[in-house]
């Protein structure tokens, strides 16, 4: 009986906090770093082999530069739906993520599999990269393109296919409408 009450209490508190504190990430870089539950759209591959947004409330600072690495780490945690497989190798890490004044976001990835050479195919590599790109541009209005780094530097590719030599812009053809 006590356990049931506790569960109800937790749900009620969660609902209350969502209702009162859900605020989108601002685009103003000079805002103070006030942390609140904010809605974010995280992109994963659907059974139709397209990227689809999964909405999640995440405790994030208001400042987008500070929020970006947290959103990237949230994306890498994978979908809340156990049936949606992760696009990146499970040991992938987000070493850092930065917003540059010209609209370029830099996402620095790491992890043993990516470092050693990821054994994957074109489709998965493309979807993984664009899950990052789509998540960045959907949540951070000032980000227009995304540069992907590996272990802090430039890398040719993540899995032997898609060039990381230039920034990526969003690709609507990969996103479910």
């Amino acid at each position: 009986m006590g356990r049931r009450t506790a569960v109800i209490l937790v749900i009620a508190l969660a609902l209350a906090s969502c209702r009162t504190e859900e605020k989108p990430i601002t685009s103003n870089l000079s805002v103070e770093n006030k942390v609140a539950m904010r809605p974010v759209a995280l992109f994963y591959e659907s059974p139709a082999q397209l990227l689809v947004a999964e909405q999640r409330n995440v405790a994030l600072p208001e400042n987008p530069a500070a929020a970006l690495p947290l959103v990237m780490r949230e994306l890498l945690k994978g979908s809340a739906n156990a049936g949606v497989p992760p696009l990146f190798p499970p040991d992938t890490t987000v070493r850092g993520a930065y917003l540059l004044p010209d609209g370029t976001a830099v996402v620095d990835l790491g992890g043993q599999t990516l470092t050693d050479g990821w054994p994957t195919g074109t489709h998965q590599e493309l979807m993984a990269i664009h899950s990052v790109v789509q998540t960045v541009v959907s949540n951070f209005p000032d980000a227009k393109r995304v540069r992907v780094l590996l272990n802090g530097g430039t890398a040719e590719t993540l899995g032997g296919h898609i060039s990381l030599g230039r920034p990526f812009t969003p690709n609507a053809a990969l996103v479910q409408r």
Partner: protein, 514 residues
């Protein structure tokens, strides 16, 4: 114009612009004739020198070309471009530790470019003295390079491999009953003369800087190519009567030049991955690199026999070949078509079907648009900054043909196999990025799908796919050669669709790939 182009240049240089937060620094070039001031940029542990200043100090010239910059010293041409660590010196490729960069509108190359170029163009060696902040150029002190020699018979082909401890410039010629390799540096020979028990090769003799490979008969001929790491000169020799391969034209590597259109004669097939880079792996452990090699070998054989084309594989075994090197090989052989063969992978296990890609250049489109705007606004006036975009526009030149080629492959695969048609797509593939010819990448099927993994291993399915791709190449070849006026149209052919308009680089929006 400068003001308009700067944002584009920043996008083009990407991270390079961040790395190059420093300004160029003054440095010294020490040559046998005296010291010359030059500018250098230090970034990420690499020293880049101003290519124009160094070549001018040595009495050479530098001029912009559509594919990059061209140098000339003592009549020996050199060239480098933006997306490749490979540069050209005379007839050789030079591998640099980093790609060249533009800074303040001027190209800077890793100093090691001159190490390779000057040894070929002027018998000079270059080194960088960090403590003295000086690039030193002095006469080359030649050390004998040790050589090894082997012949392996593979059915009707004899594979002759000359392995050298370090790259040595050479020429190759067929003289009567022998192929003669003349090295431009001293060689430490493994033996003097050796008889060889082989159907095509009778023996080999090293004498001074010359290696003479005796042939069993004058009609033994074939292809020659170079491999890196270690440096190898490889000759695939066979009797002309047993093959429909065209006459023994030894490759003439070098800068690809636009000459009179000559049709589709040389095709480079690139089996994806290799060695420890296994590519995608199927549920039962089938590896993309193995299926790609099987299919590519079959494809090479079929294209040679059916089209009489000269076909070169970027790898013939389970070896690692870098992505840059694959494209560089195609450029070096002045290939007319480049096709990379891959198997696909997806986290969605029932993903299935084939798709064909050609290159997309997102950043380039932005630069191209800016170029068009600027040229319109300025009435086409020249400016050094235009070179930045010309580098990228050079890639665009082949996009329309690549699109047609990819379309032909996809259509024939759909027709032949009935596998799910995923269509023609664009993406920024590293292996297609430096190709100076129509180039495509085919994803034959999903190795991660259990049913397709099994099919991809089947010889019958591979043969069906190979047949479809051969028909596509045949169809593209006929279409292309008719359009450029080599062939007269015999009957009305349905035109190949999918070609983007020549101006698409400037106008196209909402493309299907990145």
């Amino acid at each position: 114009m400068k003001r308009l182009l700067l944002p584009g240049a920043a996008a083009f240089l990407g991270v390079a612009s961040m790395v190059f937060a420093q300004v160029p620094n003054p440095a010294m070039l020490r040559t046998p004739s005296g010291d010359h001031p030059i500018t250098v940029v230090h970034a990420a542990g690499q020293t880049y020198v101003s290519a124009g200043e160094v070549i001018a100090a040595l009495g050479g010239t530098m001029s912009p070309e559509s594919t990059g910059f061209r140098l000339t010293l003592n009549g020996v041409a050199g060239a480098f471009g933006p997306d490749s660590r490979y540069a050209v010196a005379g007839e050789d490729l030079i591998e640099m530790p980093a790609v060249p960069v533009i800074f303040d509108g001027r190209p800077y190359v890793p100093w090691q470019f001159f190490q390779g170029y000057l040894s070929r163009a002027a018998g000079l060696e270059a080194s960088w003295d960090a403590a003295a902040n000086t690039m030193i150029v002095r006469p080359l002190q030649q050390v004998a390079v040790s050589a090894q020699f082997s012949v392996t018979n593979l059915g009707d082909i004899s594979k002759v491999v000359v392995t050298l401890a370090s790259p040595v410039e050479y020429t190759l010629a067929k003289e009567g009953g022998a192929y003669v390799i003349r090295f431009r540096g001293p060689i430490q020979a493994p033996f003097g003369t050796q008889n060889i028990d082989d159907p095509n090769v009778t023996g080999a003799a090293f004498a001074g800087r010359e290696l003479r490979i005796g042939l069993a008969s004058p009609d033994v001929a074939g292809d020659a190519y170079r491999l890196e790491n270690p440096f190898r000169i490889v000759l695939d020799l066979r009797r002309a009567a047993t093959t429909s391969v065209p006459a023994p034209v030894m490759p003439q590597p070098g800068i690809r030049r636009r000459t009179e259109p000559a049709g589709i004669r040389t095709i480079v097939i690139d089996p994806g991955h290799g060695g420890k880079e296994v590519g995608a792996v199927g549920p039962t452990g089938v590896m993309e690199k193995d299926v790609a090699l099987h299919v590519a070998r079959k494809l090479a054989g079929a294209l040679q026999s059916r089209l009489g084309a000269r076909v070169i594989l970027t790898r013939e075994d389970d070896s690692i070949v870098s992505l840059d090197q694959r494209t560089a090989l195609a450029n070096q052989y002045r290939a007319d078509l480049f096709l990379s063969v891959h198997m696909n992978a997806a986290v969605v296990k029932d993903a299935r079907g084939s798709e064909t890609y050609f290159l997309s250049l997102e950043a380039s489109d932005e630069l191209a648009r800016r170029a068009a705007e600027t040229e319109n606004a300025a009435g086409g006036s020249g400016d050094g900054d235009l070179q930045l975009i010309l580098w990228d526009l050079a890639h665009q030149e082949y996009l329309q043909e690549s699109s047609r080629f990819a379309q032909a492959i996809q259509e024939e695969m759909n027709r032949a196999t009935g596998v799910r048609n995923r269509g023609v797509k664009q993406a920024p593939f590293k292996v297609l990025l430096g190709a100076t010819m129509p180039a495509a990448l085919v994803e034959i099927g999903f190795i991660t799908n259990p049913e397709e993994e099994s099919k991809l291993q089947s010889s019958a399915f591979q043969d069906m796919m190979v047949e479809a791709i051969v028909r596509a190449v045949e169809r593209y070849k006929t279409d292309y050669e008719t359009r450029i006026g080599i062939l007269q149209p015999a009957r009305p052919e349905p035109p190949l669709t999918g070609g983007i308009r020549p101006t698409a680089a400037v106008e196209q929006k909402g493309r299907t790939g990145t």
